[in-house]
């Protein structure tokens, strides 16, 4: 008779092996990291530039540049770029994050020689036509109008503004910010930021000598950094204040809740332990917040917490959308969970579960050569190397119930959270 009561025997999670890239440093300052795999017919190339942020009076320049960079060069119009990229089945994706602006290219290897010359044009010779800028402003103003009707968007906006102030991390779009964009400012930023000495290229997939030759031809000999040096300045943050921000929306059927504060980033030796405690608290489906507020009370479709690592800071955040009639109840349940986390030692069983869950997730995050490149990227831009993951895995394996409580006491404090509610307070 089959035993359906007990689970099959647990087998230890092993096989976390990271692929190390080949590194190239070129004379023009460009650095490239290559993750080659023969199993693929695809190439993913990410040209990543550190954000140069010097103008809080014109906060949307960086995001606008990231979109507009592919909207025309001396040689190619916006329409021609789009047409050629689509024709070869490629994808050209501008990406903007707090610290970096990137152009990510996905192409079949057989069309790499068609696609990379277009990228060269974009990186060396973008002209950002006035007409394209006006289209960008017009459409983004409309998108913003719709977003501002969404409680979770407004809560997120208030949250970042409160936690990070007038720095590049605190900026969110406004109508005024969009109207203030000018072509001259964008071109000036383009000159400063889009240069080889500020570029890291991550190449992954079907990359061979021929691909590298192509890259060197296009992005090394013809691409020069201007004489003037750029300086990346660390932002200065205002001291943290545990705000409570409430924005009433009378017609809402749900309130958006967002809380959090600045926290350590990946470079801190405790970061992995903080990630562990965050996972246990609100970082996955089996977390305490999810179990209590969704699976026991049914107040929400989803609740979660996260820790994020930035170049000059980091943060912890909780987000959920709950029925307006249970908004206060949710706030007090979250408070209870913090107090429990700080005062009681969890069971070994719960700690073991989070440990295995995190190791499984780590293994699962190494699915293809492209995910190995992502893993590298995360540590590289924190100024670290792949040995981080060895230490990460060891920290996760070494977590104990007592250590969870210790970390909770040090980093998880309800009283210090900035709290934002958009909707109704019952």
């Amino acid at each position: 008779m089959l035993n359906r009561i007990n689970s099959p025997e647990y087998k230890e999670i092993t096989g976390i092996h990271l692929i190390h890239p080949k590194e190239y440093a070129y004379g023009n300052g460009l650095k490239a990291f290559v993750f080659a795999s023969e199993d693929h017919s695809l190439i993913k190339a990410e040209f990543i530039f550190a954000n140069v942020f010097e103008s809080p009076e014109n906060p949307l320049l960086n995001t606008a540049l990231s979109s507009l960079i592919k909207e025309g060069t001396t040689r190619l119009t916006s329409a021609e770029i789009a047409e050629q990229v689509d024709f070869y089945g490629a994808f050209l994706v501008p990406e903007y994050s707090y610290d970096h602006t990137a152009i990510t290219v996905y192409t079949l290897k057989k069309y790499a020689h068609k696609i990379f010359p277009i990228v060269k044009d974009i990186l060396m010779d973008a002209i950002i036509p006035e007409k394209e800028l006006q289209t960008y402003i017009r459409n983004n103003k409309q998108t913003l109008q719709v977003s501002l009707e969404k409680n979770d968007f407004v809560a997120r906006k208030q949250f970042y503004k409160s936690v990070f102030g007038n720095t590049l991390y605190g900026i969110t779009p406004t109508k005024e910010g969009l109207d203030a964009l000018t072509r001259a400012d964008l071109l000036a930023l383009y000159q400063k930021q889009i240069r080889p000495s500020n570029c890291t290229l991550i190449l992954a997939g079907a990359v061979d000598q021929q691909t590298l030759g192509l890259i060197e031809n296009l992005f090394v000999s013809d691409w020069h950094s201007p004489e003037n040096q750029i300086q990346l300045k660390a932002p200065v943050f205002e001291p943290a204040v545990a705000d409570f921000i409430f924005e009433e929306r009378k017609d809402s059927v749900q309130s958006a809740i967002r809380m959090g504060y600045q926290l350590i980033n990946r470079t801190d030796p405790n970061y992995a332990s903080v990630q562990f405690v965050n996972t246990l608290f609100g970082g996955f489906f089996g977390s305490r917040l999810m179990k209590n507020i969704r699976e026991e009370k049914g107040y929400t479709y989803s609740i979660g917490s996260a820790v994020a690592s930035l170049k000059y800071s980091g943060f912890f955040t909780i987000a959920t959308e709950v029925g307006v009639d249970v908004t206060s109840a949710t706030l007090s349940e979250i408070e209870k969970e913090f107090s429990l986390l700080r005062t009681e030692i969890p069971t070994e069983e719960e700690v073991q579960l989070v440990r295995n869950y995190l190791l499984g997730t780590m293994l699962g995050s190494l699915e293809s050569i492209f995910s190995h490149a992502d893993k590298f990227k995360a540590v590289y831009f924190s100024g670290m190397d792949l040995s981080y993951y060895q230490r990460y895995t060891e920290s996760i394996q070494a977590m104990t119930p007592a250590k969870v409580k210790e970390i909770a006491g040090q980093y998880f404090d309800y009283q210090q959270l900035t709290k934002v509610v958009v909707g109704k307070l019952d």
Binding site: Y10, F87, Y88, R138, K150, G323
Partner: protein
């Protein structure tokens, strides 16, 4: 090309195995052949609510999620109008845990009252979050019943109204399980770092003794041919006017499905597409505009949607969309433009083969369509489409009397105007 092997257990459970040893993970994807189209019109949203209850404990295992997380696994599920699909990814050496969990809930659920009460609340909050608490969130609650009059596609998977969720009873839950959650109505795909023989013996061990259940004859009211244009204008708490036009198109297995899908790509895929180029970039008629196919198993919808730019009237915006459709009906698309959208289909296919979960889901879905190998034949079907097919299908679909148009207009509210 995704290679796989298949076998069927005596109880009718179909099992497909795709070996991919470039990963240390495995995934288990189980598709149940039941969706919102199988619901009683008075109990809509039930298939989706039921999906939530599948995580509320099974006959021998009180908690589904915890044992999976203990072995490093993750899971989720989704419900559509056609299917309900459950999936697990976990380290491949713990594959048997997934078999233990999935087979027990196929055998029988715990039918916990507490789980029903909580998940009812969770789904009600999901309904509010996705459909009620954001601008245009209710579009599918309005567009479906406008476009479909008979077919159960006339309601969304979340259900017609909150009341249907509130009224769901345990006896209905049990009946739904007994009818639909049987081995012969399920397709299981195992993909990743696994071997065929090992999977076969695990499948026999854990699923072999589950009773086959009764075979159900599906009776779905078919949608009568639409004979006149339909139109509805909604005044709602939205910041901008918005337009949606839905046309009936061929079902998933029809030969013209592929031409129809390529039409949506010509119109709206990528930033070189016609709608984006003509109506956003060249002339500022829309701030955003899209065209897409629903991809439903039965009679489909082809949808155009857009938000007109400031100062452009809904009437002018609507006319501009129709002008683009007229172009497709009269001019032959060039070989070059057709090749472009085909190339994109081809490269997207290569991307989707990067993930074992995507491969597993696709194999299960195409097996439901009749044969998993159809997945590998998809590309060929797209490549065979000719410019004449595009024009012929455009003429068949883009007719006024085949259209349902939904317009949103902002309520005029003094207090809301200057909010930022």
């Amino acid at each position: 090309m995704v290679h796989y092997k298949k076998f069927t257990l005596d109880n009718g459970l179909r099992v497909l195995v795709h070996e991919d040893h470039s990963t240390a993970m495995a995934c288990v994807n189980i598709l149940y052949d039941v969706g919102a189209r199988d619901e009683n019109p008075e109990q809509t949203g039930f298939a989706h609510l039921f999906e939530h209850l599948m995580f509320g404990g099974s006959v021998n295992i009180p908690n589904y999620d915890t044992p999976l997380q203990q072995v490093g696994g993750e899971n989720n599920a989704f419900t559509s109008n056609d299917i309900t699909n459950y999936y697990i990814t976990l380290p491949a050496n713990n594959l048997e845990t997934a078999f233990w969990l999935e087979s027990d809930r196929m055998l029988s659920l715990a039918f916990s009252e507490q789980s029903l009460e909580v998940q009812r609340q969770v789904v009600i909050e999901e309904f509010k979050q996705r459909y009620l608490n954001q601008p245009y969130g209710d579009v599918w609650l309005k567009l479906r019943p406008l476009a479909y009059k008979e077919h159960p596609y006339r309601w969304a998977t979340i259900g017609k109204e909150l009341k249907h969720i509130e009224d769901a009873k345990m006896e209905d839950v049990k009946a739904f399980f007994d009818t639909h959650y049987t081995p012969q109505h399920a397709i299981m795909v195992i993909a990743g770092d696994v071997d065929f023989e090992g999977v076969k013996s695990l499948a026999e061990k854990w699923f072999g003794d589950i009773p086959a259940g009764e075979k159900i004859e599906r009776y779905l009211p078919q949608e009568p041919k639409q004979t006149e244009a339909r139109r509805e204008t909604v005044e709602a708490d939205v910041p901008l006017e918005s337009i949606y036009i839905a046309f009936h198109g061929e079902e998933r297995m029809h030969a013209d499905y592929y031409a129809t899908d390529l039409i949506s790509d010509i119109l709206s895929r990528g930033s070189s597409s016609r709608l984006y180029r003509s109506l956003v970039k060249e002339e500022p008629i829309f701030s955003e505009v899209n065209a897409y196919m629903m991809g439903s198993l039965d009679t489909n919808l082809f949808v155009l949607e857009g938000k007109p730019s400031e100062g452009v009237s809904l009437a002018d915006a609507e006319q501009a969309l129709w002008a683009q459709l007229e172009r497709l009906k009269t001019e032959l698309v060039t070989e070059h433009e057709l090749e472009k959208v085909k190339n994109k289909v081809e490269s997207t296919m290569v991307f989707s083969e990067l993930s074992i979960l995507d491969k597993a889901m696709n194999l299960a879905y195409f097996e439901l369509l009749g044969d998993a190998d159809l997945y590998n034949q998809e590309i060929e079907k797209y490549l065979q489409v000719k410019p004449e097919d595009i024009r012929r299908v455009a003429n068949a679909i883009f007719r006024e009397e085949n259209s349902s148009t939904l317009l949103y207009k902002p309520l005029v509210k003094e207090t809301h105007a200057e909010q930022n």
